[in-house]
Symmetry: C2
Subunit: 240 residues, 2 copies
């Protein structure tokens, strides 16, 4: 009877943790979408709301940390139960970083106030964001369903975001070279694009954590991505 009671209490701890992670994931998705909407629509007020809302994500991370620690101390879980708890901790870390990066985009929108990058340039960033949001949604679903297959598909999909990022970088570089007056806002857009690329890396981390929770071991393959926009492609684009 006592054992049964403990098991039920532990299950409810785990459900609560998973619920908090899902809530944090939903918030992170919204922050990313809002930050890039604010960029596309030059909506400084929305950007300010995004900046302010980041504190909620940080608070959720602390709550997940506290609940995880309490659960480990009270229930002393092992094997897959322990991985559930450690997984929640890791996921909260990645979602917090995604929130931070969205906040950084929002800050740039505020800084850009008065400057008007051509919509064409912003469309590249929007395209990256659409891909990223698809990845984020898919990986949060993979977590909700504890589906390794779905997680692996996200894990492999990160290359597409990187490829679009490289082409956005090229376009921005060309623009900067054409006219020095474009340089300032292009740098803001470069950092925005880089932020979204980094969010993609965190979505990949989340996919790896889902794999770890279910399978209990890391993914065997080499990570599919090369951090291309920092590297040769940028130089190549610069040489055009």
């Amino acid at each position: 009877m006592t054992e049964h009671h403990t098991v039920k209490a532990f299950d409810s701890d785990l459900q609560e943790l998973a619920r908090l992670v899902a809530e944090m994931g939903g918030l992170a998705e919204r922050q990313v979408a809002d930050a890039v909407d604010a960029l596309a629509r030059r909506d400084t007020a929305l950007a300010q709301r995004v900046t302010a809302a980041d504190a909620q994500i940080d608070a959720l991370q602390r709550e997940i940390e506290e609940k995880s620690v309490l659960t480990i101390a009270r229930r002393q879980p092992v094997a897959s139960d322990l991985r559930e708890v450690v997984g929640a901790l890791r996921l909260a870390g990645d979602l917090e970083r995604i929130g931070d990066l969205a906040k950084n985009i929002a800050k740039r929108v505020i800084a850009l106030n008065g400057e008007f990058p051509p919509p064409k340039l912003i469309r590249g960033v929007e395209h990256m964001t659409a891909l990223l949001l698809g990845q984020l949604k898919a990986v949060l679903n993979a977590y909700a369903r504890r589906s390794v297959a779905e997680a692996m598909s996200v894990w492999r999909g990160d290359e597409e975001i990187d490829a679009v990022c490289t082409s956005v970088f090229r376009e921005l570089l060309t623009y900067m070279m054409e006219d020095p007056r474009n340089i300032t806002f292009c740098i803001h857009l470069l950092f925005c694009a880089k932020n979204i690329e980094r969010m993609g890396d965190h979505a990949t981390n989340i996919a790896e954590t889902v794999h770890y929770i279910v399978e209990g071991k890391p993914i065997a393959d080499q990570r599919p991505k090369g951090d291309t926009t920092t590297l040769a492609d940028l130089r190549k684009a610069g040489e055009v």
Copy 2:
């Protein structure tokens, strides 16, 4: 006797955790110093070693995570003992991020292969790095001595790094506007400078964690920093 034994075992767990954090901190310091040395001396081989060595930092983070979880499950610590363990987890997270950012600088050195930014421009990044390494050393000492006073001094010192970063950004923008051929390597240097600024944020987080471990509550003041280089200053510089 049993209790005494348990206490000793717990102390040794905590010492081991603190030792691992110190080791990780030392590695992160070296990675940052090596990455920027590689940049200053155009030493691609060193940059490649930095890129490869990042895996050690990641492995240490996992080890700290595992040991923390085991310690919480076995000893069920409360109050300051629990904060020691949770603190180690948080510190490992920030040190891992610092390692990642150092790796990103190293990757840029490899990408810059063949391009030669003027030493004058790199000196700004080196200046930031010297400040950052001072902060990192101080905050790791603050952790080793559990000194809130030392941690608070690091926490307040972050503004100086941000100020130098702003002036580096200005200098790089001027350079980019003078000649479009400078744009590519200047962007790499912008990202390097931004990475070091972010490392400063992580040093600030570490200071906050030391405060939390010792005092059991967050720092009351507002965080001293404004993320200036992303904001108005960049625009101002762009308008020159």
